[in-house]
Symmetry: C2
DNA sequence: TTCATATGTAATAATTATATTACATATGAA
DNA sequence: TTCATATGTAATATAATTATTACATATGAA
């Protein structure tokens, strides 16, 4: 974790309950996309959108594997993180934010 | 802090750099609206929008005071908070999120 | 009265985010 | 060949967020 953009991306990633839910599931171990979609009762296009945000925030990483039955599977797993939020930590972070900062997309 | 909605509101509030900046400034002491707008070089309507989000996330509270020159001033100050984010804490939080949860507006 | 400094908000524009539908490829099993 | 299960994405629709402009009120000082 370095810049304030990293932090706003992280907060943005965790601002949607389904993405927090995805993180919670992955905290119990890696899953492949179709498996996750079934568990979340969510369409894959929508799930991909959420996973992309989580990956953009460096909360998850993906890797490919071929199953015993020959299917390509894309696994997602959680990256370790440990973040402390308090007035003091946010004050330090805020000090690095320029006055004309916009939301990073 | 109780429900997952409280947390997603908090993350949403911190997902914009200017709101983190506002929190950082208020960590140094309370400010009234016009004072903040000047320091942030931001229009008051836009600042109000950001402050409303921060207040909705229970990060700040407001109070009114009459200045020595008779002007009504609306002060904002930071509420204390201390949040720890890790796979384990998010796993606990995620367990409370229903499968059909949508973003709370 | 006019000016400067507070407050507040309604209306709109512009941009992003969220969600769905409809495609497409590839593999192994039946 | 057909089916089930993986993958991926393009196009579109809907909704929410972000940002600006234009108002309005109130106070005390000049």
């Amino acid at each position: 974790m370095n810049s304030y953009e990293d932090y706003t991306k992280l907060f943005d990633a965790l601002s949607h309950p389904m993405r927090v839910k995805i993180v919670g599931i992955l905290a119990g171990g890696r899953k492949y996309v179709s498996e996750l979609a079934k568990e979340l009762e969510m369409s894959r296009p929508l799930l991909y959108m959420h996973l992309k945000k989580l990956e953009g925030a460096s909360l998850v990483v993906d890797s490919y594997e071929i199953s015993e039955t020959g299917k390509t599977m894309r696994f997602f797993e959680l990256k370790p993180f440990d973040i402390h939020l308090s007035p003091s930590t946010l004050q330090d972070l805020a000090a690095t934010i320029p006055i004309d900062a916009q939301k990073s997309k």
